[in-house]
Structures are given as structure tokens and as C-alpha cells.
């Protein structure tokens, strides 16, 4: 009983820590994205509130909280109100299986630095990312607006198509780790990160995760200059804020996923493992912000063509190739 209580407290502490760190990171990624994009366009970005604009996220939250929570006429009210939560929730839940450090021994107890080391952790993340679609789709459908509906439709088709390529890109990773558990995947990269072992898989993964997370250049579901703001056109106040924060939590999740699957997780010389993990996550987040500053948005049909006709065959080829290579090396 005492043991159960201690492990419960440990889990709660870990949950609180992860929630705090992830939410702070998401809030400051918004600021970082605005500042980095600004510098890429030869402007400063927000720098008025606090030293260097550091209090900007706080002001944004206050602004969003004090705005009117508007429900459009003839919208499907309850689905409309509930949808933004789904997106943010699915993004937050993904962190339960992400290992951010090797186990730590404290007071004679070995504490795994992950909330729950599921042996099907990868499938869990996949399940959540496919459930995150529902927030977008139901929100867009319930708004009773053509732009929202179009955005939701685009999001749906895009997410379903690119999830295939995403899954196929991770097959070689699972092959070399021989497990679905994220902990085992990190452990398998102790000497070589998967980035060097499966470079093609890494490229396919990065492209399809960009589409999966609806980030520029693949932000069709919210293409501002075509369909206003896509699925969250009709949202205001904190419900829009939930979509927005969900997107940036998602960015942290992607960073963590890329780190775990390809960049070797917490492994790294000199610095403590947690620092390495956070540095790698921030680096991946910077990559995505960089891509947003550099790439134009392709046309929608180009996106679907690329996904189905280039990326998925390439991913299949990659699976076959890396299977053959690992078979040849092992035997």
C-alpha cells in the first residue's frame, strides 16, 4: 500500500513537472516563433512587454481570456464548444510516454524518467495523433461556416494521407530497436542516432510530420489567403487560444518525437541527459520555425500528389531497403 502511494505521488509529481515545462515551452515557443520569423524578415518581432518582450505570452493569454466567447448562429453548439479541448488534450496526452532522461536513483528507489513506459508507446502516440484530427474536423464542421468546413475537409484528407507516410517512415526505427517502446528506441541509439542510420526515413518523417501537424508550408487547413483561417475561423477568445496553444504543444510533441526517434533521445556527451533532451527538442522546434520562414505553401492538389505518389512509395521502398540491409548485416 505504501509502495503504491509513493508511486502514485511520483507519477503526479512527474505529470505536474511535464505539464509545467511543456506549457511554458509552448507559450515561449509562440514568442520564439514570432521573434525568429521577425528576424528572418529583418524586423524585431514583439519586444515591448517586459525585457525583450519576455512577458508577451502572459499578455496574449490575458487578452484571449478577456475576449468574448462567441458561438455562431446555427452552429452545433456543444460540439463547437468541445472541439478545441480535444486538440489540446490529444497533444498534451502524448507526453505520457516520452522518456526525457535515463532512470534516476533517488532515496534508494529507481525512478524511470517517463510517466508511463508503455511497450506500445509508439502506437499510443499514433493513436493520439489520429484522434487529434477530431478536434479540427468537428470544430470546423460545427462552426456552420464554409471556410471552416473547407479547412476541416482539407485537414482531414491531409492528415489521413500523411499519417501513412509517417507510420511507414518509423518502421525502420522500430526495426532497429525491435520494440514499440520509446524507452527501448532511445536505448537502441546509444552509439549511433537513427538520423545517421536511416537518413531517408528521417527526411520522410520530417516532411510528413510537418503535414501532420498542419504547420507551414503544409498549413492548408488554415491557409490564410485562401480560406480566412480555416477550421478556426469562427472561434474567438480562449477557444481559439486552445487551438493555438494545442498547435504549439504539438510542436513540442513533434520535437520530442523527432528527438526520441531520430536524434538519439537524451544521449549526448558532457551535459546532463535532460539538458540534451530539451536542447534537441528546441533545435527541432527551430527547424520547424525556420521552415515556416523559408517555404511557400504548395497548392492543395500538389500536396496530395506529393503525399500519395512520392512520399508513400518512397517510404515503402525505404522499409524494404532498410529491412534488407539489417538482414544482411545481422546474418
Amino acid at each position: 500500500m505504501n509502495d503504491l502511494l509513493i508511486s502514485l505521488v511520483l507519477i503526479l509529481v512527474k505529470l505536474g513537472l511535464i505539464l509545467g515545462v511543456v506549457l511554458t515551452m509552448a507559450a515561449y515557443l509562440v514568442l520564439a516563433e514570432r521573434k525568429i520569423l521577425g528576424r528572418m524578415q529583418l524586423r524585431y518581432g514583439p519586444n515591448r512587454i517586459g525585457p525583450g518582450g519576455m512577458m508577451q505570452p502572459l499578455c496574449d493569454v490575458i487578452k484571449l481570456l478577456t475576449k468574448e466567447d462567441f458561438v455562431p448562429d446555427r452552429a452545433d453548439k456543444w460540439i463547437f464548444l468541445f472541439a478545441p479541448g480535444l486538440t489540446a488534450l490529444a497533444a498534451l496526452l502524448s507526453f505520457a510516454v516520452v522518456p526525457f532522461s535515463p532512470p534516476v536513483t533517488l532515496f534508494g528507489r529507481e525512478i524511470p524518467m517517463v510517466v508511463c513506459d508503455l511497450n506500445i508507446g509508439l502506437l499510443y502516440i499514433f493513436g493520439l495523433s489520429s484522434l487529434a484530427v477530431y478536434g479540427v474536423v468537428l470544430g470546423g464542421w460545427a462552426s456552420n461556416s464554409k471556410y471552416s468546413l473547407l479547412g476541416a475537409l482539407r485537414g482531414l484528407a491531409q492528415l489521413v494521407s500523411y499519417e501513412l507516410a509517417l507510420g511507414l517512415a518509423l518502421v525502420p526505427v522500430v526495426m532497429s530497436a525491435k520494440s514499440f517502446s520509446l524507452n527501448a528506441i532511445v536505448m537502441a541509439q546509444a552509439d549511433w542516432p537513427n538520423l545517421l542510420r536511416h537518413p531517408l526515413a528521417f527526411i520522410i518523417f520530417m516532411i510528413s510530420i510537418t503535414a501532420e501537424s498542419k504547420r507551414t508550408p503544409f498549413d492548408m487547413p488554415e491557409a490564410e489567403n485562401e480560406i480566412v483561417a480555416g477550421y478556426h475561423t469562427e472561434y474567438s477568445g480562449m477557444r481559439f487560444g486552445l487551438f493555438f496553444v494545442g498547435e504549439y504543444i504539438n510542436l513540442v510533441v513533434i520535437g520530442a518525437m523527432t528527438t526520441v526517434f531520430f536524434l538519439g533521445g537524451w544521449h549526448g556527451p558532457f551535459l546532463p541527459p535532460v539538458v540534451w533532451f530539451i536542447l534537441k527538442v528546441l533545435f527541432v522546434a527551430f527547424l520547424f520555425i525556420w521552415a515556416r520562414g523559408s517555404m511557400p505553401r504548395p497548392r492543395y492538389d500538389q500536396l496530395m500528389h506529393f503525399g500519395w505518389k512520392v512520399l508513400i512509395p518512397l517510404a515503402l521502398l525505404n522499409v524494404v531497403l532498410s529491412g534488407a540491409i539489417s538482414l544482411a548485416v545481422n546474418s
Partner: protein
């Protein structure tokens, strides 16, 4: 314990499916169906097959239902008018179903009824599952895939553009 939970989950599944087929709004029907799939996934987990439970959520709730929603939204099948009356009454069944699902999953986590059972290896390990699918159940897998192939060919035949001059 397992039996009781199994029947509770079965009841939730049936109730969700019943709600699904009686909804006039297809999007609401899909939401109930997804709730039903969650009950089904929990049932698999209860019986000691977490892999199948995960596939259930990923494939059925995550992909197939999403495609259903796509078709519904694409064809504009959902009715435009929203029925009068307070919305929470319409969603009360879903809230009840989800709450009982949550309670069931909490019970499963705390009790872990599948712990002491004899479970075939391929229920748990992905590698064993793959081996079982492609050796022991190879025939069934092949049959199902042929069925899917036939369905695809049939859909292609139905949907192909008609030759010129030929009428419906």
C-alpha cells in the same frame, strides 16, 4: 471481475451503437460510433491484447471513422438546422457513456484482471503477432486481403468513367 467488466463494456458498446443508428445527424452518429470503438478497444485490453486495442483505436477510430466524416462533410449530408431545446440533454447519453468508459478503464488499470491469465504470446509482442499472422493465420490473412482486393476492383469498376456514347 473480468466477466462483470466485459458485460459492462458490452452494454456500453451496444448502447453507443444503438445511439449511433438512431441519430438523424450523421456527424453525431459518428461520434457515438467512436465512443463504441473505444469500448471495443477497452474490451480487447481487458482480454489481454493491448496491441489489438491500440490498432482498434488507430485504424477504426483514427482512420476509418475519419474517412466517414470526410464523406459526410464532402457530400453535405449533415442537416443544416439545429434542433431546438437545450443541447446538454441531447448529449447526456454520450456523457454517461464516456463517464462509464472512464470508470471501466480506471478499474482495469487498478485491478489488471488480465494479469494472472494464460495469454498467447502473439497477443502482446508485435514480433510474435507478425509471425502468427504470416504463418499460423496466413490463409485467413490472404483471404481477407483478396477480399479487399476484390472490393477495390469492384469500386473501380463502379466508379470508372463510362465510355463515350454509352448511357446509364
Amino acid at each position: 471481475m473480468t466477466t462483470v467488466l466485459f458485460y459492462i463494456l458490452g452494454f456500453i458498446l451496444l448502447a453507443a451503437t444503438l445511439m449511433c443508428i438512431t441519430r438523424r445527424n450523421p456527424v453525431h452518429a459518428v461520434i457515438y460510433l467512436v465512443a463504441g470503438f473505444f469500448a471495443l478497444a477497452l474490451m480487447f485490453y481487458l482480454l489481454g491484447a493491448p496491441l489489438v486495442a491500440a490498432w482498434e483505436v488507430i485504424v477504426y477510430a483514427g482512420a476509418i471513422m475519419v474517412l466517414f466524416l470526410f464523406i459526410i462533410m464532402m457530400l453535405g449530408l449533415a442537416p443544416q438546422e439545429v434542433p431546438e431545446g437545450p443541447g446538454w440533454q441531447r448529449w447526456l447519453p454520450l456523457v454517461l457513456l464516456s463517464a462509464s468508459l472512464m470508470a471501466c478503464s480506471l478499474l482495469i488499470i487498478l485491478q489488471d484482471p488480465a494479469a494472472g491469465q494464460e495469454i498467447p504470446d502473439f497477443y502482446l509482442a508485435p514480433q510474435a503477432l507478425g509471425e502468427a499472422l504470416f504463418s499460423r493465420y496466413a490463409m485467413a490473412v490472404e483471404m481477407v486481403s483478396f477480399q479487399l482486393l476484390f472490393a477495390t476492383i469492384g469500386a473501380f469498376l463502379l466508379g470508372r468513367p463510362l465510355p463515350k456514347g454509352e448511357d446509364q
